[in-house]
């Protein structure tokens, strides 16, 4: 079990880390440290505390109290949403569902680091980003059930969200197809001088697709301002990352193609927001793509059609100490420690 745990997530456990975002950014196309350091702020070993070298000012800049609370509430909503829809699927009311357990901070934090006018391309596990953007629970229920209210008119499988007003391009099942499309959309923005970016989510498995390389390379050569957001969650269905690639995660691929990259603890919502906000600013300033690798962990099975216990040891989660790294727990501790949250609020919100 310990080996299995190490296989799935070893680069995050053994990674060098920094508390300064400037030290985490690496310029594309030039020599880079190996392995790439990971930026974080919230100490996973000491709930409510910041890592050594991080300051309160940094944390407050990452997200002011109101924003941090809003992020936390959205993350709780993700958990509640996932619980309800998972059970609905098991009851036969919805044909399929994908939970985002463990990745609430990665997607909510990333969306919170972007602007509402940025175009967004998604993979399928970013309900946190959709909620932050303004997709309602009704919208999601309509789509999952496939009723007449659903914008796709019942044509697509559950969780294939899309919303024109919110600039969420409709999700498709083939993986990584959105990467070259994101490059094209961003090129459109650049040549018409619009001050906004394209955000493009994808997973560690999708990054193996040819389309992923194509998207990264096209955005780099055409100088298209995409904020690439790679959720490295350790698994692609049953395939751990050690069977997906042998390089140092995904960020070095972007570096090799000439794109600046940063690696961040995807389970630290404050660090994620700070990193993505800085990525957005960098993309807008340079009119070029940037790459953010969100180191996280898929706590749930791949979907309701999957049972992770068939390929994942029961004590893997414990061996990784993942509970201590849980984004919801870490942000809650941070807020409570500073008096922005308490148990009463927790109960009423839940």
């Amino acid at each position: 079990p310990a080996e299995a745990a190490a296989r799935a997530f070893d680069y995050a456990n053994g990674l060098p880390w920094v508390a300064n975002l400037d030290d985490a950014w690496v310029e594309g196309g030039r020599g880079w440290p190996s392995p790439l350091p990971m930026f974080w702020l919230l100490d996973p070993e000491a709930p409510g505390q910041l890592v050594a070298g991080a300051t309160e000012a940094q944390a407050a800049e990452a997200a002011d109290p109101a924003t941090a609370r809003a992020m936390y509430e959205t993350m709780l909503t993700v958990q509640a949403l996932d619980d309800v829809f998972y059970m609905a699927q098991r009851q036969g009311r919805v044909s399929f569902y994908l939970q985002a357990a463990g990745e609430e901070g990665a997607t909510v934090g990333a969306a919170a680091g972007l602007a509402s006018e940025d175009e967004m391309f998604l993979q399928y596990r970013e309900q946190g980003a959709c909620l932050w953007r303004g997709l309602t629970l009704d919208d999601m229920a309509d789509q999952c059930v496939g009723n007449a209210e659903s914008p796709d008119k019942g044509r697509t499988m559950p969780v294939h969200y899309g919303n024109r007003k919110l600039k969420l391009h409709t999700i498709s099942s083939p993986l990584a197809t959105q990467l070259p499309q994101a490059a094209g959309a961003a090129y459109a923005l650049r040549i018409s001088n619009e001050e906004r970016v394209v955000a493009c989510f994808f997973g560690d498995g999708s990054a193996s697709e040819g389309d992923a390389h194509a998207g990264l390379n096209f955005a780099a050569t055409l100088e298209a301002p995409v904020v690439w957001l790679c959720r490295n969650n350790g698994y692609a269905i049953s395939t751990p990352t050690r069977e997906q690639f042998r390089g140092d995660g995904l960020a070095p691929r972007a570096l090799a193609l000439g794109t600046d990259a940063v690696r961040v603890d995807g389970n630290d919502p404050l660090a994620v927001r700070a990193a993505v906000a800085s990525a957005r600013a960098r993309a807008l300033k340079n009119k070029k793509p940037v790459f953010v690798e969100l180191m996280t962990y898929r706590l749930s099975s791949h979907s309701t059609s999957d049972d992770a216990s068939k390929y994942r040891a029961a004590d893997e989660l414990a061996a990784l100490g993942v509970a201590a790294r849980h984004p919801v727990a870490r942000l809650k501790a941070y807020l409570q420690e500073r008096g922005h949250w308490d148990d009463d609020l927790e109960e009423t919100t839940r």
Binding site: T177, Q181, A183, G184, A188, I191
Partner: protein, 356 residues
């Protein structure tokens, strides 16, 4: 200056070697005699002038393209709007989808139709379904994909393919193929303007060899989804598209001269959606249908046309619908003439229908 250059090129291209002369058109001052790549060029030029969001991109388009279709465009419209991409067809099409999804016009070039297959997923699973799967919230209707196809005499497996049938059955795509310069300009303009993703196949053998008086009007367009009866006749319906239309016309001329058989030659022009009504009307009239294309016989587009005719015209047919197609082999190099549906094979099939 440009017009003079086009006319000079046209002079060299005006003695076609194996293809018959371009169809008769009026030689008024509102047309310019030009070849097919110049007509394609003219259509893109007017699209770039008319639509400030329009961009042209693909491998090597910047310097003018390996078939000269994009010549002069970068100089006139700038490197932001006419640009080279990395060598990656799935990237080219994906880029075009994303650009078009932002409500803009994307004119993508795939250097040879033989190399379109890396982009097949983006075309079939993404472009064709972008509007449908979003319930109309999003679409990539502004995307047009241009690609040279067909036999060229020495292309072999990977510079000769005609893969139109592998796209024509995909709901959400339009598939178009012109037979000459006038059709190329008119149909390409229509394809670019059409609010759906369109694949525009350009028979490469016609780029220089096919010359015509092409209307100057920058907005000149021909309707998609409409066939063209290029030669009326009462005895046999011959359906073709692209360069094969000229083969069909030659066979029709020989059949008329040799045996007084009058063929009605129809150029489908658009394969998706195809003008079934035109073929039905003609086959009902003649009772004899022949469909001919360079692509291999099995599951080539002739199969669709013949199946439809069997359903719609059964009681009017005097003979089973006939197909004269490429062989079911990869496209060979030195054996090209044996592989292709040449005039003699088409003529034999015409007589076979008449003598059935």
């Amino acid at each position: 200056m440009r017009r003079a250059a086009l006319q000079v090129r046209a002079k060299f291209a005006s003695s076609p070697r194996r293809l018959s002369a371009a169809p008769e058109t009026s030689k008024t001052s509102e047309t310019t005699r030009m070849n097919l790549f110049s007509a394609v060029n003219a259509s893109m030029r007017s699209a770039l002038a008319r639509d400030e969001s329009a961009v042209v991109f693909g491998e090597d388009v910047g310097f003018g393209g390996v078939f000269r279709c994009t010549i002069g465009l970068r100089e006139e419209f700038g490197a932001q709007r006419v640009f080279n991409t990395p060598l990656c067809e799935q990237g080219i099409v994906g880029l075009g989808i994303g650009y078009a999804a932002m409500g803009r016009t994307a004119i993508a070039e795939i250097q040879f139709a033989d190399y379109i297959f890396p982009a097949y997923d983006q075309i079939v699973n993404e472009a064709a379904k972008y509007r449908y799967r979003s319930g109309g919230e999003f679409d990539c209707g502004g995307l047009t994909i241009r690609t040279p196809c067909g036999a060229i005499g020495h292309g072999g497996h990977y510079h000769s393919q005609s893969p139109e049938a592998q796209f024509a059955g995909v709901a959400g795509l339009k598939v178009v193929m012109p037979r000459g310069p006038t059709q190329a300009k008119g149909l390409l303009t229509a394809a670019i303007n059409d609010p759906n993703p369109v694949i525009f196949f350009e028979p490469k053998a016609l780029y220089r060899a096919s010359v015509d008086d092409v209307p100057d009007d920058p907005d000149f367009a021909l309707p998609l989804g409409q066939a063209d009866v290029v030669r009326p006749g009462d005895d046999v319906t011959v359906v073709a598209w692209g360069a094969q239309v000229l083969v069909a016309q030659r066979a029709a001329a020989t059949a008329a001269a040799e045996r007084g058989v009058e063929c009605e030659v129809i150029d489908l022009q658009t394969l998706a959606p195809w003008d079934a009504a035109a073929v039905e009307a003609s086959a009902t009239k003649t009772g004899r249908l022949l469909v001919t294309h360079e692509a291999p016989r099995t599951l080539g587009f002739a199969a669709e046309v013949c199946a439809y005719a069997a359903e719609a015209c059964f009681l009017h047919l005097e003979a089973p619908p006939a197909r004269v197609c490429g062989l079911d082999t990869p496209f060979p190099l030195v054996h090209e003439k044996s592989y292709l549906p040449t005039e003699d094979k088409v003529l034999a099939a015409i007589y076979g229908l008449v003598d059935f």
